[in-house]
Amino acid sequence: MTGARERRQHTRWVEGTVKRARGETVEASHEAAMEAYEWEHPDVRDEESMWEGIGRLGESDPENPSMDDDAMLAAVMGRLDAGEGLHEGPAQSGVRPRRRAGLLALVGTVGLAAAAAIVLSWVGAGGLTLIEGRDGPRVGSKAEMSAQTERTSGQLEEAEPPVVPQRRVVVPEQTAPPPEAPPVVDVEPEAKPVSPRPTPRGPDAEAMLGEAQGQLASGETGAAIETYLRLLRKHPRSPQASTALISLGRLRLRQGRADLALEHYDRYLASGRTRLAEDARYGRIRALDALGRDREADAAAQAFMAHHPTSVHAPRLRRRLATER
């Protein structure tokens, strides 16, 4: 019985560890269970790196470059053109997938050229109008799709490289401030909504948050961080911005950038928002621990207990504070 129980707890710990490794959210109760398990079984820390590595197996590896997305899109469309399409017979690939070293060497040049040629030919024929940004399309609404279809001979989107489409949004983009010049409150002009929707910034901020979460789910951590940062720049006062701060804190902690994580958590707490304050305060403790700022971490733990005495993290922090005395 004990063995089965231990196995279940270990499985739960592994599930949380791989999620953390990918920068995904682990629920507070789950984190507490993981910490309790680590407390009872400190040896499990030996396995942590292995499970983190397994959790991140799907991420791209900069040391082993692979075909870029545009080249792959072109290759896939080429294969479909060559007879592997919907109503065709079995694969008769004109663009064979097997490339190995030779193709890898060509990806940067021929691949891109092929991508550009093929996709530009579609643009010429009718215009490839993708709604979203550089990291993958999102589902366009029917209205958006129809609007795009009507512009098939268009002179607007077609001027853009279709394989790296620019975001087209219903709400006009605001001018993002340069990173070197931190904007102050209300430095960005309010967007004038085109649609009569009551919250002009909402949909786009939500779309960006969804985009970042999708990137995380796809293992594109770097792209997700960029998207969260873009969200902060463009929609600094949106509710989604506060979610982005907490997510950035988690991601930066995972990357070993506790200094940046701490800044994000502090920004959240300074905003006066409360919904994710528990996450922010707990993240602060972890960041300060990681930075070796022990006294500040203890103070943060005390602050946490003062604000969230019934939190799932409370028992562990209580033990910690007791041992400090």
């Binding site: 270990h10 599930e15 791989v18 040896d43 030996d46 396995e47 790196s49 292995m50 499970w51 590595g53 397994i54 197996l57 799907g58 991420e59 791209s60 590896d61 900069p62 040391e63 470059p65 692979s66 997305d69 792959m72 469309m77 479909l80 399409g85 919907l86 997938p97 490339r99 070293a101 996709v119 579609w122 993708l130 990291d135 399309p137 999102r138 589902v139 609404s141 799709m145 990173p179 931190p182 904007p183 939500e206 990137q215 796809s218 293992g219 594109e220 960029e226 940062l229 902060l232 720049r233 989604q240 911005a241 506060s242 701060l245 950035l248 930066r252 940046l260 959240y268 006066g272 928002r273």
Partner: protein
């Protein structure tokens, strides 16, 4: 390095943008679009692709590409082979579009096809090899990258540990923990019962734990002390 530092600078700047609202704000969950609406839009796109709309087809391919590539990278180690597997899976998805009924999100439907296609790819690569042939790397064996050595605590590349497992256990572990599939999904994808999947996960996990702990123990002893006591004994 430069990119990283520029990101950090931008991050510091943009983080300051969040303003103090002065009043509590309601924060609705961003996932506000009902699944049925999304599925209906998916269905419309798929219908257009099936009818020969190349833009809809390209759109769908691009939309699922990140997930498909993640699946291929997780299951197939060698980058060029993972690219091949991803291409095959994407072509397979497009060929299967007529069977999409909109009963689940398009991404989830495509993910299932991609996993099956990638597993088939691995199987065909295995068959392609001459029996007894030496020098052919396992598709899953690690390339000469140290990237997966996330910390010094792990003596070897994580894929090396996985390669030591029987294939069925390895597949179950990767599907479960790298790609987040449920037991039931893995059972359906690999044509076995959920209990069999559980058994594979249990055995695979046990073997991995044993292997990594043994090596770390050896490493710690080799350094003249236990890791746990900080080498002070």
């Amino acid at each position: 390095m430069n990119a990283a530092s520029s990101t950090s600078t931008a991050e510091r700047a943009t983080a300051r943008v969040l303003v103090m609202p002065g009043r509590p704000q309601s924060e609705p969950h961003p996932d506000a679009v009902p699944a049925s609406v999304v599925a209906a839009e998916d269905l419309d796109l798929v219908r257009r692709a099936v009818e020969g709309d190349r833009r809809a087809m390209a759109w769908l391919v691009k939309r699922v590409m990140p997930r498909v590539r993640r699946i291929a990278r997780a299951l197939v180690r060698v980058a060029a082979d993972a690219d091949d597997a991803a291409q095959n899976a994407l072509v397979r998805i497009v060929r299967s579009l007529p069977s999409y009924r909109g009963r689940s999100r398009f991404e989830n439907w495509a993910k299932r096809i991609a996993v099956r296609a990638t597993l088939r790819y691995l199987e065909s690569e295995r068959r392609r090899r001459v029996p007894g042939e030496v020098g052919q790397p396992d598709e899953f064996a690690a390339e000469s990258s140290g990237r997966m050595k996330l910390r010094e605590a792990l003596p070897r590349d994580v894929r090396e540990y996985l390669t030591e497992l029987p294939e069925a256990q390895r597949t179950a572990i990767v599907l479960r923990y790298a790609l987040d599939h449920s037991i039931e999904e893995i059972a359906a994808l690999t044509d076995v019962s959920p209990n069999t999947v559980k058994g594979r996960l249990r055995l695979g996990t046990k073997a991995l734990r044993k292997s990594v702990r043994r090596e770390i123990g050896i490493g710690a002893r080799g350094q003249g002390g236990s890791r746990r006591d900080g080498g002070t004994s």
